[in-house]
Amino acid sequence: MIHRHQVKKQRIIFIVLLSLIVISAFISAGIGYSTLSFNRLIPTFLGQGTFKEEFVLFSVRLPRIIITILAGMALALSGAILQSITRNDLADPGIIGINSGAGVAVSIFFLFIPTQPGSFVYLLPLVAFIGALITAFFIYILSYNRGTGLQPVRLILVGVGFSMALSGLMIVFISSADRQKVDFIANWMAGNIWGADWPFILALFPWLIVLIPFTLYKANKLNLLNLNEPVAIGVGVAIEKERITLLLAAVALAASAVSVTGGIAFIGLMAPHIAKSLVGPRHQLFIPISILLGGWLLLFADTIGRNVIEPNGIPAGVVVALIGAPYFMYLLMKK
């Protein structure tokens, strides 16, 4: 039984966060390198702006805002799933090597497959996805033990090792590439939201539409997996099967987000954590909150990063790490 006042509290927080996102999106749309004043925002949005105003809003800022919100949501959900199936509060798709897997795939594709620029960009999310999946597969295999099943602690250690070695591999590729491509990859690694265009939103959106309901549907299973193995087996959860499907979902979410935003870590760590401390550890309650928090956090970080220095700004991944790493250290000290 979930207490009614808990549900009520969750609803209130949900609505507060939703309005926070809307307000932040509004502010984010109004500030930036090109001028578009706040009082012109709504007329422009309704189709009464000049050509320049419409271009800035619809082709530059709006897609970027939507992409950051969606990517943040996907990362937060992915982190929430990972934390529960590994029973470790410190799991995050970035820290355990999924980002770097996607990164290596993107650089291999970018450097060695000669395609027309313009057509290939829409393939990148797919490539990143495959890279992340292969990496996750290896990490899973190597942290699996025939006697005891998946060892959550080992999963994280192996992930950290993989992420370091893959960054090394990336340097190998970069060292034999030409300058322009290197710049793109370096920016990608730092988490510069590069895919800020409508088609990328279409590439990201379906994953969320399918996987958010899927995860909520699995919420009870996640609750049980989070307790401990004997309990979960005792009440009839097919542990390995559930873990693999949920791991796949988490990888898919992280990979789709990372493929359009570049390497962003810590969102998947922070959002579920804050959500749990707000509404408790039940997945039905904290997952929606954590999704919204993730979206808001990334939007917030990108808005700051975009406006700190003009015109290029600091990659959102850097801003997120500056906020997220101290939070992580704080958690580590507290636990």
Partner: protein
Amino acid sequence: MKTSIHFSLKFGIGLILLVGMFCVSMVFGAASTSLLDVWQTLFTDVKSDAINILRELRLPREVAAMLVGAALAVSGAIMQGITRNPLADPGLLGLTSGANAALAISLALIPGINYFGITLVCFIGAAVGAIMVFGIGSVKKGGFSPLRIVLAGAAVSAFLYAVADGVGIYFKISKDVSMWTAGGLIGTSWSQLQMITPFIAIGIVVALLLSRQLTILSLNEEVAVGLGQKTIQTKSILFVVVILLAGASVALVGNMAFVGLMVPHIVRAIVGTDYRQIIPMSVIAGAILMLLADTIGRTINIPYETPVAAIIAIMGLPFFLVIVRKGGRVFQ
């Protein structure tokens, strides 16, 4: 006495391997040279094109490779001994990223900083990074467990790299910073070596002098205290040694993970758990490993150079995985 004879034999074989590897890495490269050229470079005053290449480019570079390999291996061995943690490594535990961040900040604030200044800054940065990681570890009892230390290291590194990135982009010096941090052994000069060598030499000598204490310390804290060791004093000195060695390495070649992790493990498999033997052997094995990695990096993709750090990282991963697997019980 039997073991010590045994050890000197192993040490001798190590030395011979080192000399062999040194010759190999001197001979192979983008410009082809012969063993005779190498001989003339080292022991005569003869001048020719090939000898000039060797004397001004390849020799300082290989000397740097050996120094850095030895320094990183010894600092890794010390860290593993003090923390009794098989996964300790200056690259994994925040020292390298700390030196990086400090480097970026100093390049931003003091544009004309000279090489000596940069070296000092790297020491400070390495110390800050290490103190952050060990600070997080030591808040809780049993905080030096491999998982916690690795996670703390990953978080601190992520933070400090973000600082370095952010500063680099903000002050528009990211290219200069990456030239330092990703430069590897490319363009190592004699003057840089003159600056760095004393630090590394002092570090290694102090480590050798304290190796007996380190062996006791690596067994158990209580045993060390019981045997009359001033553990805090010993640990502090060793900590300074680690920072000297790791900081000097970063100042010379930039980022280099996994050397400090791999070498002590290989060495332990050869000579056992006594640090009086582990440390001298680590010096040799570290130097050989770096020479090998550098030679591979220079020859695998001529005329491009593959950074040593990348080669090392790829060699290091299987090692890391084996250590994690072997030490599985420790982590439970």
